[in-house]
């Protein structure tokens, strides 16, 4: 807790040392501060344990309608006595004319109690005799005091007060809540220094207003991290279009034209779009031949020309390999891919995929597994295992599983395989091609502990401003 006191705090403490136990308003008046300054200052001091704030309720008594009348006309017992002063002795029946019928009993009993009268039995009626030396009763004294509103705690004669309270509408009670500020022992001990023009100390420990650092998108950070790893492993990045002819997205990858994956329910076909030059004549002829031989059907060029939003980055890879025909290569590509699915917490229509490829005369399936392990190791994922799986354009094909420490379970990450000869041969690629890849959002979800993939694209500033750059 800061030991530095603000000038406002100084003034409040000084005022309380002069006049202890006063209200906010009184402090404001004495210290020449606004009420807002006092409220704020008292809060700070309370937080620093220098003052205590006590709330209390003060009750006041004043006269009701009947009480006020009694001040003017006298209490019933007084009026009875005044009558007796004129007549000295009278019967009960006579006395009844002096006061109101409903006040009579009270008048008699109070006058008797005050020692003002004596009652003796007459022949037909009781006789009232006035005594000497008649003084004011405590009720009468209290009545005059209560003509001004008085704190209940200031009333000394409690029994007179109780007696008046019993009479209907003689006394009215009300209360006022007040807050009183008191210095604590620490507060009393606080030294008040008088500043002498030197730089005033400020509360260096108080919280400062928030500002938000501008930053790249967390998902972009993961993409960049993946990119850096590929580059560090000796891979060159290639770039390709998002809209591709079906030829490169499917046909060149030995996916038959009637394959369910090509149907509209999985793939986005672009309306009224086509392209004249999808590939070289030789590439088209060879791919078509490979389909006829492998899948026994009538391959159609028109189907291959249909434009799709790429369903994987492999179309970019295979086109690069077909056009450049390298004997040895390490290349990768990363970017958006599309699937015609219903958006949900685990599916997006558009997401990022990365794919790496190694071409070489002597590359093996074990090398592919090794590169994979190396890649994950650089991502901070140390436990990796492999299972067989199926992909239409690789053979053999494997699935990698990595152990997620946070979740305490194995999760499926990248798929991999060696391009099928049915894919490479027609395109003139002679050496084996190791390929692997997968979605980046999945890695980002693990990294940022998200359970809903949509959050990555919500651009919720609350999240973007709070998620750590290096978690």
């Amino acid at each position: 807790m800061s030991k530095v006191l603000h000038p406002i705090e100084h003034k409040i403490i000084r005022t309380l040392k002069e006049t202890p136990n006063i209200t906010h308003d009184e402090i404001a008046k004495n210290a020449e501060l606004t009420i807002d300054q006092v409220r704020r200052g008292v809060e700070w001091l309370k937080y620093k344990n220098l003052v205590e704030v006590h709330e209390s309720e003060v009750f006041f008594a004043s006269l009701g309608q009947n009480g006020k009348e009694a001040v003017e006309k006298g209490l019933p017992e007084r009026r009875l006595v005044n009558y007796l002063v004129k007549h000295k002795v009278c019967t009960f029946d006579d006395a009844r004319t002096a006061v109101l019928e409903n006040e009579f009993n009270a008048a008699i009993s109070n006058a008797k109690q005050n020692g003002w009268i004596e009652i003796t039995k007459g022949q037909t009626s009781n006789i009232i005799t006035l005594k000497d030396n008649i003084k004011h009763s405590p009720e009468e004294e209290l009545l005059t005091i209560l003509a001004n509103r008085t704190p209940v705690s200031d009333i000394k004669n409690k029994s007179a007060f109780e007696s008046l309270k019993k009479r209907p509408d003689f006394i009215r009670l009300d209360s006022i809540k007040t807050t009183v500020i008191t210095l604590t022992k620490q507060g009393l001990d606080t030294q008040i220094t008088h500043s002498t023009g030197a730089l005033l100390a400020i509360d260096v420990e108080a919280p400062a207003p928030e500002v938000f650092a501008a930053r790249s998108h967390p998902l972009q950070d993961v993409i960049n991290e993946v990119r850096e790893i590929f580059v560090s492993l000796g891979f060159a990045e290639i770039y390709g279009n998002l809209a591709q002819p079906s030829f490169w997205n499917f046909d060149a990858l030995f996916t038959p034209q009637d394959h369910p994956a090509r149907e509209m329910q999985d793939t986005f076909y672009i309306k009224n779009a086509s392209t004249n030059k999808i590939a070289t004549h030789n590439q088209i002829a060879k791919v078509s031949e490979s389909h006829k031989k492998g899948w026994h059907y009538n391959w159609k060029l028109d189907e291959a020309k249909r434009m799709v939003l790429r369903t994987h980055t492999t179309c970019v890879t295979i086109r690069h390999l077909a056009d450049n025909n390298p004997d040895e290569a390490r290349i990768f590509s990363v970017g958006r891919v599309f699937r015609n699915e219903k958006v949900s917490y685990k599916h997006l229509v558009e997401f990022n995929q990365v794919e790496g490829v190694v071409v070489g005369k002597n590359v093996t399936l074990r090398d592919l597994m090794g590169l994979q392990r190396e890649f994950y190791y650089k991502m901070g994922l140390k436990k990796v295992k492999f299972w067989p799986t199926f992909f239409p354009y690789t053979e053999p094909s494997l699935q990698s599983m990595v152990y997620n420490e946070k979740l305490g379970k194995w999760v499926e990450l990248f798929g991999m395989g060696i391009f099928r000869p049915e894919v490479t041969k027609p395109l003139g690629i002679k050496n084996p091609v190791l390929a692997w890849g997968g979605g980046i959002e999945r890695i980002a979800m693990l990294k940022f502990a998200l359970s809903d993939v949509r959050e990555l694209y919500n651009n919720n500033l609350g999240w973007l401003r709070s998620v750590p750059k290096c978690p």
């Binding site: 790249s216 998108h217 672009i270 015609n340 229509v349 002597n362 694209y457």
Partner: protein, 546 residues
């Protein structure tokens, strides 16, 4: 991916050797099956559609037997000669030209076996059958049928009692009123002649590929079966038939052949094939040094037959393994039989140096500049909604590029500009502290005589009470000066999304490369923003990279 439910008790029995459940479950992934769900009694696994033999627990048991060495080598399909014949009428040529069939006799069906068979039939319809279009399967109670059968065509007024019905319906009614009729009727196209299988006394057996007759419904009491498959592709029909024949043999049936003739149809050929595998190829691809005998035993564990001949291995592949195209598929079979877990990963030698693509490098730099100027990166989709892209932003939609049949309402057109998405992002953050400064880079699409063009743009928006044209222009100037050393000027223009009189074209090297301005109050209103916004969008393609 199709899913099979396996009852562990039954699977244990099928294996024929006492095997713990734990052992079974841990083996499943190594024959390529993904575990989907697991309870005390059963386990659901996903298999890839290229292995239709895994569509029943019989096929999966066979795979596990192989990998665990309980039974290895190719399961032999024994087909006895039957006296059953099917004649094909040439009229089917135009509508569904092929039929193939086998007979399965003296077996026993229990509820679970029937369930497995029906599930297999569905998977085969969807996979090899391409949703019944290419092939469709009918399984019938043999004892209800009088041979010979004829596969022919009839008119749409032909009537019979279809499966699960108790009254006669005409083919027209079946196509219009039943679920299967409406779902698969379009396979038959506009033909008025409908394919039909009739028996020798004129009973309807099946109306392929839609529905069987009620007459031949199978039950627990059925002892013998007719399996017929009609198709537009004879090869695919025999692929499917080989899967069914093997399953029924495993389920305890004796398999008999049928004689099929007429209109280019013939008895099915379900024979195995042979393929030669070179030992060197296996070792080269897997990076191992396996002996011929290890390769042979690995292939046998993958339920293939193999024997050596010199430096080569002769493999015998059962008909149902339609996934095996060539020798590379056999290499994978060796890897699986050998055990993927036994392959130790290695790192290949390489002298190549990695590098990022020049577009990536340029975008990284632009991004760094934007962040330095206080702008945070947003990431939006490139497949967007017309509402945001054109309607709310008041942009001209006449060159809109759509995709066919999107399953998600908000993703139906390709963006031709990044700004609308950024304004939409602001509108979803009105409860967050201002100022809000956002930028995005990405691909936008345009169409030039049906050809799709892709370009990369940079856009940014700034929203707070004191934003002005001059502030956003300062940002623009700084981006290009500090980013790429280019000087840009602005020239008064009029663009729908922006306020009239506070909008300009961005000119760099005498070319208009973008637009800058204050967003019009109407657009601000459309997005329910209660704060002024300014922004710009620039085409980077052709400016800082090609």
């Amino acid at each position: 991916m199709p899913v099979v439910t396996l009852y562990l008790n039954r699977l244990q029995k099928l294996l024929g050797k006492k095997t713990s459940r734990k052992k079974i479950i841990s083996t499943l992934p190594f024959i390529g099956l993904d575990i989907e769900e697991q309870t005390k009694d059963h386990i659901s696994v996903e298999y890839s559609p290229n292995r239709p033999d895994y569509s029943t627990d019989y096929g999966i048991a066979s795979g596990i037997q192989g990998l665990l060495g309980i039974k290895t080598g190719m399961p032999k399909l024994k087909i006895k000669k039957g006296k059953y014949s099917i004649k094909v009428d040439p009229s089917v040529r135009k509508v569904r030209p092929f039929i193939t069939a086998i007979i399965a006799k003296s077996g026993k069906l229990d509820n679970e076996t029937i369930r497995q068979i029906i599930a297999m039939q569905e998977d085969l319809h969807n996979g090899i059958g391409r949703r019944r279009k290419k092939t469709s399967i009918g399984i019938h109670d043999l004892d209800k049928i009088k041979f010979p059968l004829i596969y022919t065509t009839v008119n749409k007024d032909h009537k019979f009692i279809p499966l699960t019905s108790s009254f006669e319906m005409s083919i027209s009614e079946i196509l219009q009123k039943t679920d299967v009729g409406t779902k698969y009727g379009n396979i038959l196209g506009t033909s008025q002649q409908m394919p039909i299988i009739l028996d020798s006394i004129g009973n309807t057996i099946s109306f392929p590929p839609i529905i069987n007759s009620n007459l031949t419904t199978i039950s627990k009491n059925t002892q013998s079966l007719l399996v017929e498959i009609t198709a537009v592709d004879k090869n695919a029909a025999e692929d499917a038939l080989s899967v069914v024949a093997n399953v029924l043999q495993n389920a305890g049936f004796s398999i008999f052949s049928t004689k099929i003739s007429g209109a280019n149809n013939s008895a099915p050929s379900l024979n195995s094939r042979r393929m030669i595998l070179e030992v060197d190829l296996v070792n080269k691809i897997l990076g191992l040094n396996l002996s011929t005998s290890t390769i042979i035993s690995s292939l046998r564990k993958s339920r293939l037959d193999a024997k050596s001949q010199g430096n080569k291995i002769i493999c015998t592949i059962p008909r149902y393994r339609t996934d095996i195209f060539g020798t590379m598929d056999l290499v994978e079979e060796v890897a699986l039989g050998y055990g993927i877990q036994n392959l130790e990963p290695t790192i290949p030698q390489s002298v190549s140096t990695g590098q990022k693509n020049k577009i990536t490098i340029a975008l990284d730099s632009m991004s760094a500049i934007m962040v330095g100027l206080g702008y945070s990166e947003a990431m939006n989709f490139s497949l967007v909604s017309k509402e945001v892209q054109y309607d709310l932003t008041k942009r001209d939609s006449s060159n809109m590029i759509s995709v066919d049949d999107s399953k998600s309402q908000g993703h139906t057109i390709l963006r031709d500009s990044i700004l609308p998405g950024l304004i939409d992002t602001l509108s979803r953050n009105i409860h967050e502290t201002y100022p809000q400064r956002l930028f995005e880079t990405g691909v936008v699409f345009s169409k030039v005589s049906n050809e799709i063009r892709e370009e990369i743009h940079l856009a940014c928006v700034c929203a707070y009470n004191d934003i002005s044209f001059s502030e956003i222009k300062s940002i623009l100037q700084s981006v290009f000066r500090t980013g790429v050393g280019l000087h840009c000027t602005t020239q008064m223009s009029s663009v729908p999304t922006f306020s009239e009189g506070r909008t300009a074209n961005i000119i760099i090297n005498n070319k208009t490369v973008g637009v800058i301005g204050e967003i019009s109050p109407e657009v601000i209103d459309n997005f329910k923003l209660r704060i002024p916004v300014a922004g710009f969008e620039v085409k980077l393609t052709g400016l800082i990279f090609d």
